[in-house]
C-alpha cells in the first residue's frame, strides 16, 4: 500500500520498456481531454510513475505533445482515406470525407486543437524544431491532397461546378476547420441540423439535390 490507494504499477518485463511510452501518451491524452494542466509531473502522476521515469521516453513535455499530434495526423489521414473509399458516387464520397474530418476532430477536440490550433506557432516551431514542423506540414498537405482529389472527382463526375478545385478545396478545409472549432467553442449555439452538409455542398460547389 503506497497510501494513495491506487493500483501498484507492475514494472514492464525486460524487452518491453517501450510499453511505458504508450502509457505516457495515453495519460497525456486523458489530461488533455479533461482540460487538466499538462505538466511533466501531472503526466507522470496520471501514468502512475515517478516523474523522472518520463525522461526515459521523452526529453520534455513538448515532445509528448508532438508525439500526440503525430499520432493524430496519422489517424486523421487514415480516417479520410477510408472515407474516400466508401460511397458509390463522387459527391457521396466527398460528403463522407468532410463528415469524417468533422467526426475525427470532434472525437478528441483537444488533440485536434493541438494539431491545428496554433498552440505552437508554425513559424516559431520551424526555428526550434525544423524537422518536426516540416513533418506536420507534410502530413497536413497529405490530408489536404485528399480534399483536392475528392473535389476533382466531383468535377469529373459532373457533380461540382468548381473551376478551381485547389481553391475550393482550400475553402472547404477552412469551412470544416471552422465548423469543427466553433461547435466546441460555441456549443450552446443552436446549430442548424445538417449544417455540415450545407457547408460541404456550398464550398465544394456540388450541384446534385
Amino acid at each position: 500500500m503506497t497510501g494513495t490507494g491506487e493500483h501498484e504499477r507492475q514494472r514492464n518485463p525486460r524487452g518491453e520498456g517501450a510499453r511505458l511510452r504508450g502509457e505516457i501518451l495515453d495519460a497525456a491524452r486523458e489530461l488533455l481531454a479533461e482540460g487538466e494542466p499538462m505538466t511533466l509531473r501531472s503526466v507522470a502522476r496520471r501514468a502512475g510513475v515517478a516523474a523522472p521515469s518520463i525522461y526515459r521516453h521523452f526529453p520534455d513535455v513538448d515532445a509528448i505533445m508532438a508525439a500526440l499530434a503525430d499520432d493524430a495526423f496519422a489517424a486523421l489521414t487514415d480516417v479520410l482515406e477510408r472515407a474516400r473509399a466508401g460511397g458509390s458516387t463522387a459527391d457521396e464520397r466527398l460528403i463522407a470525407l468532410g463528415r469524417a474530418y468533422l467526426d475525427e476532430a470532434a472525437r478528441e477536440p483537444a488533440v485536434y486543437r493541438l494539431m491545428f490550433g496554433a498552440q505552437w506557432d508554425a513559424a516559431a516551431a520551424l526555428d526550434v524544431h525544423p524537422e518536426r514542423a516540416e513533418r506536420f506540414q507534410v502530413m497536413g498537405m497529405n490530408a489536404f491532397g485528399l480534399l483536392v482529389g475528392a473535389v476533382e472527382d466531383c468535377v469529373r463526375a459532373g457533380q461540382s461546378t468548381s473551376s478551381d478545385p485547389r481553391r475550393d478545396a482550400a475553402a472547404l478545409w477552412a469551412g470544416l476547420h471552422g465548423l469543427a472549432g466553433l461547435r466546441v467553442a460555441a456549443s450552446l449555439f443552436d446549430w442548424p441540423d445538417g449544417i455540415d452538409v450545407t457547408v460541404i455542398r456550398s464550398l465544394a460547389r456540388l450541384t446534385s439535390r
Copy 2:
C-alpha cells in the same frame, strides 16, 4: 535606479487609480500577442508594477482574460457594424462585413483565440462564472445577428439564392472562423488569392459576378 534600467513608473494621481487597470490590460495583450506565458506576475512585470498591485483591479488572471475578451467582443461588434454601413449594394456590404471579421481576427489572433478558441470551455465556464459566460453568449449572438441580417439583405436585393438565411449565416460564420484560424495555424500553406471572397460568396450563396 532600480537596477533593471526600466523607466521608473509614476504613481497615478488621486482620482485616477483606474488608469493602472488599462495599463494591466495593455500588458496582458502584449504578452498574449508575443506568445509569452500569462501569469499574474508576468503581467505585473510587464506593466512595471509590483505583483500585489494587480489585486487592486482584478481578483485573478482569469478576470484579466475575461476583460480582454469583453473589450474584444465590443471591438468586433463595432467593426462589423461600421462595415455594414459602408458599400453601396447589399452584396458589397456583406463581403465587407466578412472581410472586417477576418481583419479583426487577424489584428490580434491571440485575443481572437481567447474569444472563440475554446480556451475556456463554454459549458464549464457556465458553471464557474455564469454571468460572464452569458455575457459572452449575448455578445456572440449580437455579432451573429449582423451576419444573418446581411444575408437577408442580399436575399431581399436578389443577390443571394439563400432560402434559409440563418442556416447560411451559421455556415458563413463557420467559414470565416475557420479561415481566420487556419491562416494563423497553417501560415505556411499557400492560400489562394481572394480565398476570403470565395468563402463568403459560396456560403452566402451570392449570385452576382
